[in-house]
């Protein structure tokens, strides 16, 4: 079965992936903020930009068809569900003695940035769907 191309491919799936990654990142940042006073807590973050870069198509690709539900997903699709975490940068001159690596100022900045970018992606997705709807209705 040919995959739908053009209309529903590309932008929509990219935006969907962006929203998923941004909400995972938000969860991670919330956990870091909640644990800002927990001894020995190590802060992590989602490498959103790196994950999205992986999704960029490199020329033409051969897709594997799944004719049975039991088939394992093709690598590209499997990679789309995965979220890799990386340790957040440790503040250079930390004076904390409790082994906690949360940089609260950076975490709050990242939180604001992540929220803004999530909302931007949601807005773009909304606009994309609106324009599709417009086309389907013949511009009426």
């Amino acid at each position: 079965m040919p995959q739908p191309t053009g209309l529903f491919d590309g932008t929509l799936s990219l935006l969907q992936r962006t929203l998923n990654l941004r909400s995972a990142q938000h969860q991670m940042l919330s956990a870091n903020i909640a644990n800002a006073d927990t001894p020995h807590y190590r802060s992590f973050e989602v490498a959103v930009e790196e994950e999205l870069r992986k999704l960029r198509p490199e020329g033409r690709r051969v897709e594997m068809a799944r004719t049975q539900n039991a088939h394992l997903p093709v690598p590209a699709a499997a990679a789309a569900d995965r979220v890799t975490l990386r340790p957040a940068a440790v503040p250079a001159f930390s004076l904390r003695a409790d082994g906690n690596t949360v940089d609260i100022d950076r975490a709050m900045g990242d939180l604001a940035e992540n929220t803004l970018k999530y909302k931007t992606s949601a807005q773009l997705l909304s606009a994309k769907l609106k324009s599709l709807k417009n086309v389907i209705q013949g511009g009426r």
Partner: protein
Amino acid sequence: MDLYDALHTSSTGLAAQRLRMNLISANLANVNTTRTPEGGPYRRKEVVFEARPKAESFRDLLRSRQNRRPADVQAARIIEDQRPPVLKFAPHHPDADETGYVALPHVNVMEEMVNMISATRSYEANIAAVRAAKDMALKALEIGK
């Protein structure tokens, strides 16, 4: 959904900071308390936080073992300050010993105030995270409108 989990994580953070604030209030309120049910002067209390990984499935458990999973915060235990009480010369105090000294709790008001500011700021940070999660969820609901 990730956003609901994020809300829950932030709410555990709020609860933890509120508990910390309650203990600070108790310490300040009992700054001159010389009698307790356990006997002796009041002992300053402090909470120890620990990260509790979410572990509902095998995958979560595996990731939590690798320390790679967002974690809630919870109060592990409440410890009592083991510093010796402060002795004050007050011979007319009913709890004074035979030399005229009263054992008062080792509560440093300045230390408590600093901890209070720290707890307030952490609470506010969690509130900001909750607000951001709410904004994101509301924006997501607008998709396709």
